[in-house]
């Protein structure tokens, strides 16, 4: 048996393990509690569905609007200090949705200094509320769009960048206006990339719990928690989660369908792309346009958080370095492991001509859309079962009782992260592999038949940019992850997200500011690295 077959076997084993928590959730559909379902259908289910659909579609629309506009401008124009905008536009990646939601609530709160200032300026009595309340569905849509648009920006930027000047020239000669060119050519050609970004945003929005719970929006994932915690009905909660899975599956199928004729969008054009120089009024306009999303998605909330953390908060800074250490350790370890797994899966999918493995990879990607807590519960039941079986085995054969081995360990936490974020890493590694032509493989194998050699000497060096961006994205995601960490972590193990959440959920927004700004701060480093990486790749 050669090395490649071994790696196939490993892939199958790991995939089965990673899929178990998903199945343990999906299997709940075989024990339906009809009474509770009837109740849900009679009362709240329609709300859950409409709210979720509106949230998902709204956030995707908002993110597409922001991401595509900025992506187009950045890909097509050259202007003063563009490099700064290039960094700034991606900063909201470091801002968790629930934190931006808390921050804006506090900022626009009835008693907030900003609110008082506005009242003072217009000399209104202190009982008047002038700022709009953002805690409703449309507010949630805005919050989500503000922090999730970079996903669309990244993908659409690359798509626009690959459209050569000649396309614009065709339109110019045909007497079309720039706007007409954008809507008839540039946007339709970038459609697959834009929709992929939109699908990512929809999945994030569907899985979100922190923001919608705080804003009192009853979405599907809020409903899952409500059914579980309120009614104490874990089975129905799991069934709701399965329904959410189905919905996400639908989104993924639609996204796939939209790329059905993917070849329609591949342009084999020599990529001669020059950017148009903009100065004067146009420069000011472009700067304002591109600065607005990061201004609202990053700078304003960051400044508010900093202000709270420095001037008002009395949260103890004791043990803060410990908190920071745990967070970094966990995020880095998770990034490393998840990307290694993703590499293995996409490598196997590439090496086997049959479609099984690429379908498997799609299935593994489903975890991304499930609320973290649902995954946590799936993981808990698997790990508990495994620990019990193992103990029974050792007790009966060796009279040894090792106790819990994986439950309540870092391992289980990493397992849950893998289920949740494998999709993020897979997308990068699969894209990376797709860029390496199969002829390269053939040439390499012809010179040296060792597949390990091929992987280590040819693929890994070529994949370096993909691997790096996968690691950075996973790092930032784990950094922000909350519900699974909260439930699965070992004794005495805290992270920044856990600390921020606990304080915020007790309505102590101001005290939550320090850990929150720390999350943002730690997230900045990988985001900047990511930007640097992207820039290098594009030149």
């Amino acid at each position: 048996m050669n090395g490649f077959n071994w790696i196939k076997i490993f892939a199958v084993i790991f995939a089965s393990i990673l899929i178990l928590p998903l199945f343990s959730v999906l299997f709940s559909v075989f024990s339906p509690d009809l009474d509770t379902w009837q109740h849900l259908i009679d009362t709240v289910l329609v709300d859950y569905i409409t709210n979720s659909v509106v949230l998902a579609l709204g956030s995707a629309t908002g993110a597409i609007l922001l991401g595509t506009t900025t992506g187009y401008v950045m890909a097509n124009y050259q202007f003063a200090a563009k490099a700064i905008l290039q960094i700034v536009l991606l900063l909201p990646l470091a801002m968790p949705a629930y934190i931006i939601a808390y921050t804006y609530t506090g900022l626009m709160d009835f008693g907030s200094p900003l609110h008082q200032l506005i009242r003072d300026v217009f000399s209104l009595p202190s009982t008047v509320s002038v700022l709009p309340d953002i805690r409703h569905l449309s507010g949630a849509v805005v919050m989500m769009s503000l922090v999730l648009y970079p996903y669309v920006y990244l993908l659409s930027y690359a798509a626009f960048k690959s459209q050569p000047d000649a396309l614009q020239n065709v339109s110019t000669l045909a007497g079309k206006s720039s706007l007409s060119h954008i809507f008839n050519v540039a946007l339709p050609m970038a459609r697959p990339a834009i929709l992929t970004g939109g699908a990512l945003v929809m999945m994030e929005a569907l899985a979100d719990y922190g923001t919608v719970a705080y804003f009192g929006v009853n979405t599907f994932s809020a409903g899952i928690y409500r059914t579980w915690f309120g009614m104490g009905n874990r089975e129905v909660a799991a069934q709701l989660a399965s329904a959410l899975c189905l919905f996400v599956f639908l989104v993924l199928i639609l996204e796939k369908y939209s790329r059905k004729d993917a070849r329609r969008y591949v342009n084999n054009l020599a990529n001669k792309k020059t950017t148009r120089e903009v100065t004067g009024k146009g420069l000011v306009f472009i700067w304002l346009l591109c600065l607005l999303p990061p201004l609202f998605g990053f700078f304003i909330p960051s400044i508010q958080l900093l202000y709270w953390a420095v001037f008002t908060s009395e949260a103890d800074t004791q043990g803060f370095s410990n908190l920071l250490g745990n967070t970094l350790y966990l995020s880095a370890l998770a990034a490393f492991i998840i990307v290694a797994l993703a590499l293995m899966f996409s490598y196997v999918a590439r090496m086997t001509s049959a479609n099984h493995f690429s379908r498997l990879n799609q299935l593994l990607s489903l975890g991304y859309a499930l609320p973290g807590l649902v995954i946590a519960v799936g993981v808990i039941s698997i790990s508990g079962w495994a620990d019990r079986q193992f103990n029974m085995f050792t007790i009966s054969w060796f009279d040894f009782r090792p106790g819990l081995i994986i439950s309540g360990s870092i391992t289980i936490l990493l397992f849950a992260y893998s289920v949740r974020y494998l999709s993020v890493a897979l997308q990068n590694t699969e894209n990376g592999f797709a860029r390496i032509s199969l002829q390269t493989d053939a040439a390499a194998l012809n010179l040296n038949p060792s597949r390990w050699h091929l992987l280590s000497r040819i693929h890994l060096p070529l994949l370096r940019p993909s691997i790096l961006s996968a690691m950075l994205l996973v790092f930032v995601d784990v950094l922000k992850e909350l519900p699974a960490t909260l439930v699965l972590r070992p004794f005495n193990f805290n992270t920044l997200a856990v600390r921020a959440y606990e304080l915020a959920s007790d309505e102590r927004l101001i005290d939550a500011a320090l850990p929150a700004i720390a999350i943002v701060g730690v997230g900045l480093l990988p985001v900047c690295l990511l930007i640097y990486q992207l820039e290098r790749r594009s030149t």
Binding site: H39, T105, F110, G216, T411, N494, E507
Partner: protein
């Protein structure tokens, strides 16, 4: 052979139990329990290992870990979860002589004991010329249409309050009440209890339904604007004649498979001691369960009140039904 395994898995596995340790799963957040645990360690030398989190998720974790679970003590922030843990057979009878508590604060089978109580009341703006409702029930009256701020029915405090009312007044009255509240709301439920209080002071509504410890927290907040708002709030307690003000408890159970039962009992006793009881009142503005323990200045300022008498086991059991009832009433 055994030692080989021990070495093999020592690195991977969760913290192993040693004699002088106790492991706690807490549905109460860290800031509201860690200082007590640290004090316990300082006094007794027993190390306390803590995981905080969503109560139900921790219950699920304990359940799936089963007989090998390391958890000794379960701390829950409300009666519903204490009952849920008991019903899932995750707890055992407390074999201690407990201090003198009102009987409702201890499970009939001693599977849990209360640590603190919280009161949920109607609040209004000082000096406003509103017609005060004589009870929580009366707030459902049509005359309060468009005057009430209250958070979502997803919230456990509203579920407990409704469950308690179902026990006291029956399903029909409670159902009508929930419908009345839903119709009288000044706005769609959103935000937490503090948000309801703020909205009330901002004039969005005349009455806010909130737990008193949130008001206490605002009164002692480091943020001046919060203190300013809280100073303007008055409380309308439900008198004894109308059934008394709704209360809920936080409480503690000893895990069924507790590996460090003795230490767990030691910690439980410590938590119920007078000094610790007073700490809760001081730090989180919750009411002690032990009679005669001093209330904090803030709590005294809010005033003494008559609490409803309720069987917390029954209330906890009705939690899901209460939510369904609110669903039907259109309380979002």
């Amino acid at each position: 052979m055994a030692s080989v395994f021990t070495i093999l898995f020592a690195g991977l596995s969760a913290a192993q139990s040693f004699a002088a340790e106790v492991n706690v799963y807490s549905g109460r957040q860290e800031a509201l329990i860690k200082p007590l645990l640290d004090k316990f360690t300082a006094q007794t030398g027993v190390k306390v290992n803590l995981v905080t989190g969503k109560a139900d998720a921790l219950i699920s974790r304990a359940a799936s870990e089963g007989e090998f679970s390391q958890v000794d003590l379960l701390v829950m922030a409300d009666a519903g979860r204490l009952v849920r843990a008991k019903n899932m057979r995750l707890t055992q009878a407390i074999g201690l002589d407990l201090p003198a508590l009102s009987s409702s604060f201890i499970d009939e089978e001693k599977h849990w004991v209360a640590l603190t109580t919280r009161a949920r009341t109607v609040m209004y703006k000082k000096g406003s010329d509103v017609v005060l409702p004589e009870s929580m029930l009366a707030l459902a009256d049509k005359k309060y249409a468009g005057q009430i701020c209250v958070r979502s029915s997803s919230n456990i405090y509203n579920q407990s309050m409704t469950a308690a009312m179902m026990l006291d007044k029956g399903d029909e009255v409670t159902s009508k009440w929930a419908k009345g509240i839903a119709e009288n709301m000044a706005r769609k439920p959103k935000g937490g209890d503090r948000d309801q209080i703020k909205a009330m002071i901002a004039g969005e509504c005349q009455f806010a339904i909130a737990n008193t410890y949130y008001l206490g927290g605002m009164l002692t907040s480091s943020d001046e604007s919060q203190r300013e708002i809280a100073e303007q709030v008055a409380i309308a307690w439900t008198p004894k004649s109308e059934g008394g003000t709704h209360i809920n408890i936080s409480g503690v159970s000893i895990a069924k498979h507790a590996p460090n039962k003795a230490a767990a009992e030691q910690l439980l006793t410590f938590m119920l001691a007078e000094e610790q009881q007073a700490w809760y009142a001081e730090v989180n503005q919750e009411y002690p369960v032990i009679d005669g323990v001093n209330w904090s200045k803030t709590l005294e300022r809010l005033g003494r009140f008559d609490a409803q008498s309720v069987n917390f086991n029954d209330m906890g059991r009705l939690n899901g039904d209460a939510l369904k009832l609110m669903d039907k009433a259109g309380w979002q």
